[in-house]
């Protein structure tokens, strides 16, 4: 096929040919893109017509990547196969935010057959700006006039026929949340594709001049005048506004936020989630499953070695982690409700003035709240931050919030060393906040960048969170968790079990310290001495934590189950041989503040934009974790036990070196700053 008139280089030609071949081989599937304003209901519609469970949150910037899936069979018109692509929200084709760039690049670059433009019925006039731009792309557009339930509830009237006439393309009223109008929508889309007609671009004044956008807005106003009748002025005070006055209040806002988050975590960890998890850990995986498995395996006469592998290695390790499943599920259920009702944008408003002090904006709180479930979507959520430096800083600080995978570690140490205190788990979050604040301030001083945070965020109307969606999210997360447990963690555990039972010569060992794992751990162990952590076991556990944080618990379960028969979680159990309460707390902090698991590091890599920054980020995170653990162990032991801890001398040396380096780095940054004459330090 000739590419006349277009200058492509050879490589691009080859790639395009391959893609074309793929499409032809794939049966020329029809491809439909969903485009529209943020928060207009694209992802809800996407989930409804594809059967997927992509995350829907009631704040702008939830969808940060394009997502693809096939149309559900129930919606297909003649049984053909249709591919749907959900794009991040955009207000226009010329991008200000990175989500808008994805949308623009995608629509202009890929072969889309039909665009479904989802127009937010709650704000038609703003949505139409983008619509008029989409109409000009030369691809057939069908408008889904979404949130029709809200339009009716408000008493507004939108004439879909008139709108269709004005725009020159089909307009179908829909309500994605109740799946109303969706079959008509798809039918219309297929009709439009088969008729091979493309709508004409709309004419308006000042086209192709620099006043083009103004002309476009005037056209939109004219169209709205003909098609929409509002029942009340948009500037009237609504119920949402009244709630905001309290929830986003200057003084009340912050305590309310903490109260809500405390409620979510207490309910998940101490309440329902914790109760069920306790049962799982103590009864189900502590007795029932291992006893049944042992009985069964003995009865069928399995080799005792294999039996140990299965019961102590596989079941023991995985069981230690899967026991936490109920807790994780309840947490995600609550977070989903919170995120769905629209409160998150208000949190960003409340936190803005605090984040400004460390050079960020209120938007940075959202990745952190998402990160409290899992750091991976948390880090990805930083894409809504336009400023690259603020984005990097938020990416570095987000993993400090304990994620769901770290909860088993917290629970384990709290149960064994601090069984009667309820302050241990909350203290981890408080330390996280403090470190985010301090870390932010430190980053601001260490790196030279301009400080110009401008904050604008849409506040969507509050809505009753969907229980259905929360339940779907909960089971989705549970599925993912079990998948992770039965693959990564299981494989890791099997290896760990093997590595602690055998020597390098592949001979079984009675004494663990002669095993493969012991020698691997001993390699790393010296680094941990200044932190007061002795023994290859601790090094091994920390290392496995990078594959998945849950592994720290699983690894202990495997290593120690062989050494002693007591269940791991009993107060004063097997772990007490390795730690004092002070060093236990320190170990907890160390594992929580070092760089996150590899998967999360991968997400960080995508967001940082360069390897140089990725290594800076990892270096920073590791230093923070190391420094904190060092201080807690050394000074804590001094203060509480009145004697020096193990590794005191090397610890002090390291401390002095670290401090000196820090002072040096700050002075260097200050000099650079003065040289550039940046007077951006507002604090």
């Amino acid at each position: 096929m000739p590419f006349c008139g277009i200058h492509f280089n050879l490589l691009t030609r080859i790639i395009i040919s391959i893609e074309k071949a793929q499409r032809i081989l794939g049966g020329n599937k029809m491809r439909i893109a969903l485009a529209g304003n943020p928060n207009s209901g694209k992802t809800t519609l996407f989930n409804a017509i594809t059967g997927k469970t992509e995350f829907v949150g009631n704040w702008p910037g939830v969808t940060v990547e394009k997502k693809e899936a096939d149309l559900k069979r129930k919606y297909s018109v003649k049984g053909e196969s249709i591919r749907i692509v959900d794009l991040p929200g955009a207000y226009s084709i010329s991008p200000y935010t990175s989500e808008e760039a994805v949308t623009r690049d995608f629509i202009l670059g890929e072969s889309i057959d039909v665009i479904i433009n989802i127009v937010d019925g709650a704000n038609v006039s703003r949505s139409l700006f983008f619509t008029t731009q989409l109409i000009e792309l030369g691809i057939p557009v069908v408008v889904a006039l979404n949130k029709h339930d809200i339009v009716n509830r408000r008493g507004d009237k939108i004439d879909a026929q008139a709108l269709s006439k004005e725009l020159g393309c089909e307009v179908i009223p829909t309500t994605a949340t109740s799946e109303t109008g969706l079959s008509e929508l798809i039918k219309k889309v297929v009709e439009v594709k088969e008729s091979n007609k493309v709508q004409k671009a709309l004419k308006f004044e000042n086209q192709n001049t620099e006043k083009e956008d103004l002309g476009r807005q005037k056209l939109v106003d004219k169209i709205i005048g003909k098609c929409e009748v509002k029942s009340r002025k948009a500037s009237e005070i609504t119920f949402s506004d009244k709630v905001d006055r309290i929830v986003a209040h200057k003084w009340l806002g912050l305590p309310i936020f903490f109260l809500i988050m405390w409620g979510v975590y207490t309910f998940s960890i101490d309440g329902l989630g914790g109760y069920l998890s306790g049962y799982f850990n103590d009864v189900l995986f502590g007795e029932i499953v291992p006893n049944a498995a042992n009985g069964f395996l003995e009865n069928i006469g399995v080799n005792p070695l294999l039996q140990a592998l299965i019961v102590d290695g596989a079941i023991g390790g995985v069981g230690a982690v899967v026991g936490f499943l109920p807790l994780i599920m309840v947490l995600f259920f609550c977070l989903s409700l919170l995120e769905d009702c629209g409160y998150m944008s208000r949190v960003a408003v409340v936190m803005d003035r605090f984040f400004k002090k460390i050079g960020l904006s209120g938007k940075s709180i959202i990745p952190m709240i998402v990160g409290s479930g899992c750091a991976i979507p948390g880090v990805m959520a930083t894409r809504t931050i336009e400023d690259m430096n603020q984005k990097r800083m938020t990416t570095i600080l987000t993993p400090f919030i304990p994620c769901g995978a770290k909860l088993p570690i917290i629970a384990l140490f709290a149960a064994v060393f601090f069984p009667t205190s309820t302050w241990v788990a909350p203290s981890m979050y408080i330390i996280a906040f403090v470190m985010i604040a301090l870390g932010g301030l430190l980053l601001k001083r260490l790196f030279v960048w301009e400080n110009n945070s401008q904050f604008i965020l849409e506040l969507p109307e509050y809505k009753i969170p969907s229980l259905k969606h929360a339940i779907i999210q909960m089971f989705d997360k549970a599925k993912g968790f079990i998948r992770k447990a039965t693959t990564i963690i299981l494989v890791c555990n099997t290896f760990i079990w093997f590595a602690q039972a055998y020597s390098w010569q592949l001979q079984p060992v009675q004494d663990q310290s002669l095993s493969i794992l012991a020698s691997l751990g001993s390699f790393i162990a010296p680094i941990l001495i200044p932190l007061g952590f002795l023994g290859w076991q601790l090094a091994a556990a920390t290392l496995t934590g990078f594959i998945a944080k849950e592994n720290v618990v699983a690894t202990f379960a495997v290593i120690l189950a062989v050494a002693s028969e007591e269940a791991l979680h009993v107060p004063g159990g097997a772990l007490t041989g390795f730690f004092t309460p002070v060093t236990a707390f320190s170990f907890l902090v160390f594992n929580l503040f070092t760089p996150p698991c590899f998967a999360a590091i991968g997400a960080m890599n995508s967001e940082m934009g360069s390897k140089k920054w990725l290594f800076r980020a990892l270096g920073f995170q590791f230093s923070v974790g190391y420094f904190l653990a060092l201080c807690i162990t050394q000074f804590g032991t001094l203060l509480l036990y009145g004697k020096t801890a193990v590794g005191f001398v090397p610890a002090m040396i390291i401390l002095i070196v670290m401090t000196m380096y820090l002072i040096y780095a700050i002075k260097k940054a200050d000099a650079k700053r003065n040289a550039l004459e940046l007077v951006g330090e507002s604090a």
């Binding site: 703003r126 807005q217 948009a234 803005d352 400004k356 945070s453 904050f455 604008i456 849409e458 969507p460």
Partner: protein, 71 residues
């Protein structure tokens, strides 16, 4: 008069939007440009809550200073 000095609860016409081009364009697509109406709903936690077209937005002091109103 800039938006940060405007009275709460009142509606104004925008006179002009100053500042970086990217941001001016972004505000434009939301409906904030010369001739359009903007209502100041309230001031919460240091941010201004404004109503542009049919939506609510929270903007900080810095951004509020770039929007000049007709009054």
């Amino acid at each position: 008069m800039v938006l940060s000095k405007a009275k709460m609860g009142e509606t104004f016409k925008v006179k002009e939007v100053t500042g970086k081009e990217k941001i001016v364009k972004f505000l434009f697509t939301l409906g904030c440009y010369a001739g359009e109406e903007v209502t100041i709903i309230s001031k919460l936690a240091g941010n201004y809550i404004v109503s542009i077209k049919d939506s609510r937005y929270a903007i900080d002091e810095g951004m509020a200073k770039t929007i000049v109103l007709d009054a």
